[in-house]
């Protein structure tokens, strides 16, 4: 169960350059560094809004996270205590990068009832988003394997088990 406050509502096609500009990417290998520069060009107030809460929810329109494959965009959100992104849709590369890092994404076609300041409770197991401020609850769909991966915080344990098989000479695939 994830709970958080909606601190930002974006429109369609927010790209990963918006989330973290390119010239920051090679200046550090520490994921926390990218939190410091999240949305520095696109939304310079983003960080201070997120800093006021322990858990933030970002809401957006279609295609959130499009563009560059930079995984630093995921770190930039996570290190601003973004617990969940709720958007109309997500493109594949960003979606996979969030799966790998356990940043929960929920695709929700109709987000019209959600406003800045609302307290949300995202129940992955039940597939519901409860708006505690407005007393409403809406279902969202997610593939079972993705739900398991988000709940596990990524796929690393599975990959490690596969690597064990390979190193032990048991399996090539």
């Amino acid at each position: 169960m994830l709970t958080g406050t909606v601190t930002t509502i974006f429109g369609d096609d927010i790209n990963t350059d918006d989330i973290i500009p390119a010239f920051r990417l090679q200046q550090s290998n520490d994921p926390e560094y990218f939190g410091t520069y999240a949305f520095e060009k696109f939304d310079p107030e983003f960080r201070s809004r997120c800093g006021q809460r322990n858990a933030n929810v970002v809401v957006a329109g279609k295609n959130f996270g499009c563009g560059s494959s930079r995984e630093q965009a995921v770190y930039a959100l996570q290190y601003n205590r973004v617990a969940c992104v709720i958007a109309a849709s997500f493109p594949d590369i960003f979606y996979r990068n969030c799966l790998a890092n356990g940043l929960t994404l929920a695709a929700l076609p109709d987000r019209s009832g959600i406003q800045v300041g609302d307290e949300l409770e995202v129940d992955l197991a039940a597939g519901t988003i409860r708006n505690k401020t407005r007393g409403t609850s809406v279902p969202f769909t997610m593939k079972d394997e993705d739900r398991r991966t988000f709940q596990a915080g990524g796929m690393t344990a599975r990959v490690r088990a596969h690597l064990e098989e390979i190193l032990a000479g048991r399996s090539g695939t």
Partner: protein, 446 residues
């Protein structure tokens, strides 16, 4: 019921027939490559996540198969900071330990060099830690971008996990381009038509007479921008032109692949190439593409619009031009630029940067006198790298800049200041605009 070429490629790789929508828990990868942005953190991630596992088996940390892994420093080289230089050092030292190829700084851009060197072939499954890995689909490979962690997983085991076989959006290209109209104009037209999310979760497959008549450089331009409509990747069937390109070049076995005529496609669209005119994408997204003749209309629309995806454009003046990037920095592109610039001068208020996309392209353009024409016209020619497209060096934009670029993205702040305006167009349009100091129609120069 037939299969799409995507379904065929995945089926062969997993050894059983698959359909789109199917989940593949472990999909083996044929080629895996990294640039200087993601290579260094991916190596560190590999060591952090799996170092202990390797040690327990008494083995050093290694990649799954050094013949299939490549690292190419291309984004920020020659290094603009100590951190970049040390990242390149890490790639080089890990490459030596593992025995995989690390290219030299200046050899060129990942999506150009591996194709030139014959490493990407039909039926391949290619992962690159860059969203423009889709470029490689022009070779008939299933090629897509991944992030650091998927890249590190693949380094360790040679697999990508929980891969959903994508559906295909088939674009049939008919006819041929008019003079002064190029592959770039076509793909901008398509992106403008379907929108930034118009090919979401689907592979963009390009087929038909229009593709068959197109040389390889133009094909890579089209596949390069599939991701700008959120395509999973772009792909093209094998034909005589591709087989000719791969002859004496391919480092791996070559076998043709194409979709079956009775395969199931999620969408289909036909585009008549002869009906297209030069296109220009307005800031801040490639999907803001309009035909050249509609620039005044689009300027008016931008001034009435509110929202960050289309800022007000009040002038068609140009301060900066860029020809290069994985989209349009190849030999055929430079030939067109030289045609436009020959006998002309770059406008006194314009900085034009031209970057051949690889060392091979650079050397050929030099040997054939193409670079002389470009340099004498007043352009700045730089060594092969991603250039200002990455926004970190080689022509970072000020707040007052209006840039026209042959690259693939014109996001806000992409090349420098958040207030700069970036337009996208063909290399010929960039050259024509650099001469006139305003958005210009290339048709009068070629």
């Amino acid at each position: 019921m037939g299969q799409t070429m995507v379904e065929k490629i995945v089926s062969r790789q997993v050894g059983r027939p698959v359909r789109s929508g199917e989940l593949i828990e472990r999909l083996p990868v044929g080629k895996l490559f990294f640039n200087d942005v993601i290579g260094p953190p991916a190596i560190l991630t590999l060591q952090r996540l799996f170092g202990e596992t390797f040690r327990r088996h008494g083995k050093p940390v290694r990649v799954f198969d050094p013949r299939r892994v490549f690292m190419l420093p291309d984004h920020s080289i020659p290094a603009y900071s100590v951190e970049v230089a040390e990242g390149v050092d890490l790639m080089e030292s890990f490459g030596r330990e593992c025995g995989f190829t690390v290219y030299r700084e200046g050899d060129g851009i990942e999506h150009v060099v591996l194709i030139e060197d014959g490493h990407i072939v039909p039926w391949d499954i290619v992962l690159g830690t860059d969203s423009h890995t889709c470029t490689n689909g022009a070779m008939g490979a299933l090629a897509f971008g991944v992030g650091t962690t998927d890249g590190a997983y693949a380094m360790a085991t040679g697999h990508i996990y929980d891969f959903v076989v994508p559906e295909t959006f088939q674009f049939e290209l008919t006819g041929g381009f008019q003079r002064g109209v190029y592959a770039k104009d076509l793909i901008l037209h398509i992106i403008g038509t379907v929108g930034a999310g118009g090919c979401s979760r689907r592979v963009a497959e390009f087929v038909g007479e229009g593709v068959r008549r197109m040389p390889m450089d133009a094909r890579t331009t089209i596949c390069n921008m599939a991701v700008e409509m959120s395509g999973r990747t772009g792909i093209m069937p094998t034909d005589e032109t591709l087989l000719g390109y791969l002859k004496d070049r391919a480092q791996w076995p070559v076998e043709p692949v194409a979709s079956d005529s009775d395969a199931t496609f999620a969408n289909r669209m036909t585009v008549d190439l002869s009906a297209l005119e030069p296109m220009v994408a307005f800031p801040h997204k490639p999907a803001n593409a309009v035909p050249f003749s509609r620039i005044p209309e689009m300027m008016a629309k931008s001034q009435a619009h509110s929202g960050p995806d289309l800022p007000p454009v009040t002038s068609d003046r140009i301060t900066d031009g860029f020809v290069g990037a994985c989209t349009n920095g190849r030999y055929d592109d430079l030939v067109e630029v030289a045609k436009v610039l020959k006998g002309n001068k770059v406008h006194k208020d314009v900085s034009l940067v031209v970057i051949p996309a690889s060392r091979r392209v650079y050397e050929r353009a030099m040997d054939e006198g193409i670079l002389q024409v470009i340099i004498k016209a007043g352009a700045n020619v730089e060594s092969s790298n991603c250039g200002p497209c990455f926004g970190s060096h080689m022509g970072v934009l000020s707040r007052n800049a209006q840039m026209i670029s042959s690259s693939n993205r014109n996001y806000q702040g992409r090349m420098g200041s958040r207030d700069a305006r970036i337009f996208l167009g063909s290399p010929a349009m960039v050259a024509a605009s650099a001469i006139e100091g305003r958005l210009a129609d290339p048709r009068k120069y070629v």
